[in-house]
């Protein structure tokens, strides 16, 4: 197992310095600075529209910064650099992005075409494409879906196919965009197990999410984004999750007013369990 707990001892995978990005003249990311090391598990935490998904697309070299520098594996990640086919192939073989919406990611006529797409297009020999794709489908338990059309699958199945379509590439770095969004509890739990397995294999995992319930399971380090598209802080999950003022400021927890036994209370709501708490005293309080 290559994961070193905080992962900070691994070689730098991504180095982002003074990076800003605008899309259609709208600022999407402002002055981003952070480094990702090999084997790290990082959660990018932020409200909807804070720029998490955009950051993942920049790390996957789908968008390029308006200003600042992004380096991947020690070399600048620029549009010009990826014009070189060998360099582009090498990068894409090492980094895989799972999109939030499986409808976007599953564009092929069958599940088999979908899973073989990446290794085939990245120039692997056909025998290896078959071997990797069968392995990925077997690992995720979707072999029986092989000839099915992706758009006819359930939400959980679509997510598994989306993961398999990246898994067949066996990338070192996984970029996951809201992986648990719209999944039922069982599928969510299996997905978290899957992420855990990847981590045990020493993969670098960067997950964009606003689901605070999963943060401690998927990350050793949390990078927080505010609604102004900036990083407002980072730290270990327990530190970040106990900083309620910052969580409220970033629109990740909310103050909720309700009545119990004829008395009105105001609470910060973080986890579902907080909604089921017992009241010891009849004043505003923070979750315990």
């Amino acid at each position: 197992m290559a994961n070193n707990g905080n992962g900070m001892n691994g070689a730098p995978i991504f180095e982002v310095a003074r990076m800003s990005f605008s899309y259609n003249n709208q600022l999407a990311l402002r002055d981003i600075n952070f480094t990702v090391h090999a084997g790290e598990r990082i959660a990018i935490l932020g409200a909807n529209g804070s720029g998490k998904s955009t950051l993942l697309k920049i790390l996957d070299a789908l968008y390029f910064p308006t200003s600042g520098v992004v380096c991947a594996f020690g070399e600048p990640l620029t549009e010009q650099a990826l014009q070189d086919e060998a360099r582009a192939f090498a990068f894409r073989r090492r980094v895989g992005l799972v999109f939030q919406d499986p409808e976007v990611q599953l564009f092929s006529p069958t599940v088999w075409d979908e899973v073989t797409f990446a290794p085939l297009h990245l120039g692997l020999p056909r025998a290896e494409v078959i071997e990797r794709s069968e392995w990925a489908m077997d690992l995720l338990g979707i072999t029986k879906l092989r000839d099915r059309a992706p758009h006819r699958l359930s939400g959980g199945e679509k997510k598994k196919v989306a993961l398999a379509s990246v898994l067949s590439l066996r990338p070192d770095v996984w970029l996951l965009d809201e992986p648990t969004a719209s999944l039922d509890p069982r599928s969510q739990s299996r997905l978290l197990d899957f992420i855990g397995e990847l981590s045990k294999e020493g993969k670098t995992i960067i997950t964009a999410t606003n689901d605070l319930d999963i943060v401690e399971e998927i990350a050793d380090r949390v990078v927080m984004f505010c609604e102004e598209h900036e990083i407002t802080g980072e730290g270990a999950p327990h530190e970040v999750l106990s900083d309620y003022d910052r969580l409220v400021e970033c629109n990740l927890i909310h103050e909720h007013r309700h009545r119990h036994d004829g008395t009105e209370h105001v609470h910060h709501h973080l986890h579902p369990a907080v909604h089921e708490h017992q009241h010891e005293e009849q004043t505003s309080k923070r979750p315990t």
């Binding site: 697309k57 996957d60 789908l62 086919e85 582009a88 192939f89 894409r92 895989g96 992005l97 999109f99 919406d101 409808e103 976007v104 990611q105 564009f107 092929s108 006529p109 069958t110 088999w112 075409d113 073989t116 797409f117 990446a118 085939l120 297009h121 990245l122 120039g123 056909r126 494409v129 078959i130 000839d147 059309a149 992706p150 758009h151 006819r152 379509s165 990246v166 590439l169």
Partner: protein, 283 residues
């Protein structure tokens, strides 16, 4: 409050009908999954055979030959477990609305002069003469039968072949990869966009009570078409990024795993021989 029953609007019925028909015929692929004659053949054999028969129908100048080719599809459809009523309706119920409209003028002496079969108007002064002519009937019959037979063969091919394998057959037959890729993705995303359109309609319906004027319906329809276009544009952008992320650089590659058997040769030869005979006899 009025107790008048609200009937579904034209748009509602059209959208619902379109989604239902596409889901039933294109996406469900129920018939293509059956164990029948055409389903057992390699899609390449079916595709080449269908193309040969379509060329024969276009090249033949004999009504009986074209009718015979059409009649030949009926036992094949039957052995491929295509419900006969469904198969006949798919072709002949909609034909009058499309081809019939085009064929109608050809019946009359104005467009196709010749021996009159039925005189409709015959005035001396001013001189007005309108009649259905024999050459007109023959021309219209040719058009209807040609289109009917061609559509029947195409329907049979689509109903008995899974879309993914049909695309593979097109690739193997050297249809440009970009064309096949676009065709495949169009099919894939029509489904998504139709559902989006349906959901937009339901979301509106849940907030509208009573009758809505036609003008208001048209305004809403125009606005939703705009919204849907914007959505499809955004979707295409994201799909392209997803393709790039997994190595797409403009050239689409596929893993083809079609298996050609002896029976495919036999049926392909049969289709081609029938087509050639039809051309020779009907010429």
């Amino acid at each position: 409050m009025s107790s008048a029953k609200l009937t579904p609007s034209f748009f509602e019925k059209t959208l619902g009908g379109l989604t239902g028909t596409l889901e039933q015929t294109l996406f469900a692929e129920e018939i293509a999954r059956q164990d029948g004659l055409l389903q057992s053949l390699d899609p390449r054999a079916k595709l080449i055979g269908a193309l040969a028969l379509l060329i024969a129908i276009s090249a033949s100048h004999n009504l009986i030959v074209i009718a015979a080719l059409y009649l030949l599809t009926l036992p094949i459809a039957n052995r491929s477990r295509v419900p006969m009523g469904f198969y006949l309706k798919r072709v002949w119920v909609f034909m009058p609305f499309f081809t019939g409209v085009v064929a109608l003028p050809a019946l009359f002496n104005v467009f196709t002069p010749g021996r009159p079969l039925l005189t409709l108007i015959d005035l001396a002064s001013p001189r007005v003469y309108l009649a259905i002519t024999l050459p007109g009937v023959i021309t219209a019959a040719f058009l209807l039968l040609r289109v009917g037979a061609s559509v029947s063969i195409a329907v049979l091919l689509i109903l008995t072949t899974r879309w993914a394998t049909l695309l593979k057959a097109l690739r193997v037959l050297h249809v440009p990869q970009a064309f096949v890729l676009i065709l495949g993705m169009t099919y894939r995303y029509i489904y998504v966009l139709l559902h989006a359109a349906n959901n937009m309609f339901l979301a509106r319906k849940s907030r509208v009570v009573g009758r809505v004027s036609s003008a208001e319906e048209r305004r809403w329809l125009a606005a939703s078409m705009g919204t849907l276009f914007a959505k499809s544009y955004e979707l295409s952008d994201q799909v392209y990024l997803a393709m790039q992320s997994r190595g797409f650089r403009g050239e689409a590659l596929v893993m083809d795993a079609l298996v050609w058997r002896g029976a495919d040769w036999v049926w392909l030869c049969a289709f081609v021989v029938v087509a050639a005979a039809a051309v020779l006899i009907g010429h």
